[in-house]
């Protein structure tokens, strides 16, 4: 790891002031991707602004039909929260599937979204539920957040503060795991808002994306057979030693079908 200067602000204002001064700096959330990337020298920020002591980013609550997750809320907290389990069980279940136990104790939603790993789980929930990402200066709709490989709508120095998820009528996330890394080879999040259905895919492309043909079919009839015969085009899908684009395309249909089945249970 290259050397850097470490900062430990106690408020988001202090964190933002630091970020404004340190243009080559980075916010540090749980560090489960960033510290690893720095060890591999894939990332070499001049400064790390550790958000671990910024308590205003750690709130997790359910208000009416909305689940509000602060940027520094750990995956394990979302997975274990009775309020989230009740409001959006699929969201709690997804958080409990991220990485492994130890990673879930450190990793945060803000870190996951800002990093936008192509195989991360949270982007599927954010896009599938049509969540809103609040930063210190604006609100960004999920549909406008994910821009490409590790690329988001965030501007330099912009800080995610909270993510708000509207509770659907029913939803489920199905993930085909890479058996070694537990990252999603393909993950599909299906959410039914009563007539309006959203289907979001992670792991298959450069970043999470929606599957409009499936959404239309499921809006007409929310049943596994509505998606079972939809063939997904493999153009532009990820190709690596774990899976070909054709295999990933096939998995999208299989995982979507299973997600609908799970949502109906």
């Amino acid at each position: 790891m290259y050397a850097f200067e470490y900062h430990r602000p106690s408020s988001s204002k202090e964190a933002l002031d630091l970020a404004a001064k340190k243009s080559e700096g980075k916010f540090l959330a749980g560090g489960q991707s960033l510290v690893q990337a720095m060890k591999l020298r894939l990332s070499s920020p001049s400064d790390l602004i550790d958000l671990g002591s910024v308590s205003e980013l750690k709130n997790l609550k359910v208000e009416g039909n909305t689940v509000l997750v602060g940027a520094m809320v750990r995956h394990a907290e979302v997975a274990a929260s009775p309020a989230v389990q009740k409001a959006i069980p699929a969201l709690a279940a997804l958080a409990g599937m991220i990485g492994d136990r130890q990673v879930r104790h450190m990793g945060t939603i803000g870190g996951s979204l800002a990093n936008s790993d192509p195989a991360a789980d949270y982007p599927a929930a954010v896009l599938g539920l049509g969540a809103t990402i609040s930063t210190h200066k604006r609100k960004i709709e999920a549909d406008k957040f994910f821009k490409g490989l590790y690329e988001t709508a965030l501007e330099p120095g912009e800080l995610i503060t909270q993510v708000s998820f509207p509770a659907p009528k029913r939803a489920a996330y199905m993930k085909f795991k890479n058996p070694a890394s537990r990252f999603a080879l393909v993950g599909v999040f299906v959410a039914d808002f009563g007539g309006n259905v959203r289907v979001a895919v992670t792991g298959a492309g450069a970043c999470a994306f929606r599957q409009p043909d499936m959404e239309k079919a499921l809006a007409a009839k929310f049943a596994p057979e509505s998606v079972a015969n939809i063939k997904v085009k493999s153009d532009g899908l990820n190709n690596d030693l774990h899976a070909s684009p054709e295999y990933r395309a096939h998995l999208i249909t299989v995982m979507a079908k299973r997600a609908v089945e799970a949502a109906l249970k």
């Binding site: 790891m1 290259y2 050397a3 850097f4 200067e5 470490y6 430990r8 540090l28 749980g30 560090g31 489960q32 510290v35 690893q36 720095m38 060890k39 790390l48 550790d50 671990g52 394990a76 990485g99 492994d100 136990r101 130890q102 990673v103 104790h105 450190m106 070694a180 890394s181 537990r182």
Partner: protein, 159 residues
């Protein structure tokens, strides 16, 4: 740049001047000379570096020491009782032969301890799922799973 880091490790306050890029595992092994916490893969896959931070299992190779500033850290050295008798989970690993070469064992035990707190009588399936973040390159999982099931029950019984 060097920074001052302070935390509690196995109940004792410790502090040192370290480089900001010092990983928690490096601080534990090299500054504190507590070498029971192992570095297996250094890429967050193997879990041999698992310790508890404020009661929760984490991978100490995946955070910098400064992220543990002010925290309560428990390493494998702090698990046995003061009088030298083994913790029920350690005893269960011994009795069920839950190790072969032993390299992964500290991480397995630390993860198992945290897991057992919420699972007083776990099924084999739950234990296997809980070990997602720990690798045994001897592939001796069968006895590790048996050990954790027995250890969790023993912990619940000794409460």
């Amino acid at each position: 740049m060097s920074v001052k880091v302070s935390m509690k490790v196995n109940g004792k306050p410790v502090s040192a001047e370290v480089e900001a890029r010092t990983l928690l595992v490096t601080f534990i092994r090299e500054n504190l000379r507590l070498t029971g916490t192992h570095v297996g893969c250094d890429t967050a896959q193997c879990g041999a570096c698992t310790v508890h931070m404020n009661g929760r299992a984490i991978k100490s190779c995946s955070i910098v020491a400064m992220q543990a500033e002010g925290a309560d850290i428990l390493t494998i050295e702090g698990v046995a009782n003061g009088n030298g008798t083994l913790h029920p989970m350690q005893q269960a690993f011994k009795e069920n032969h839950g190790l072969q070469c032993g390299f992964c064992t500290p991480g397995m035990v630390m993860n198992a301890l945290d897991f057992a707190k919420g699972h007083p009588n776990p099924s084999e399936k739950e234990v296997r799922e809980s070990l997602e973040g720990n690798l045994c390159r001897c592939t001796g999982y069968h006895n590790i799973v048996k050990s954790i099931v027995a250890g969790a029950r023993a912990m619940a019984a000794s409460k």
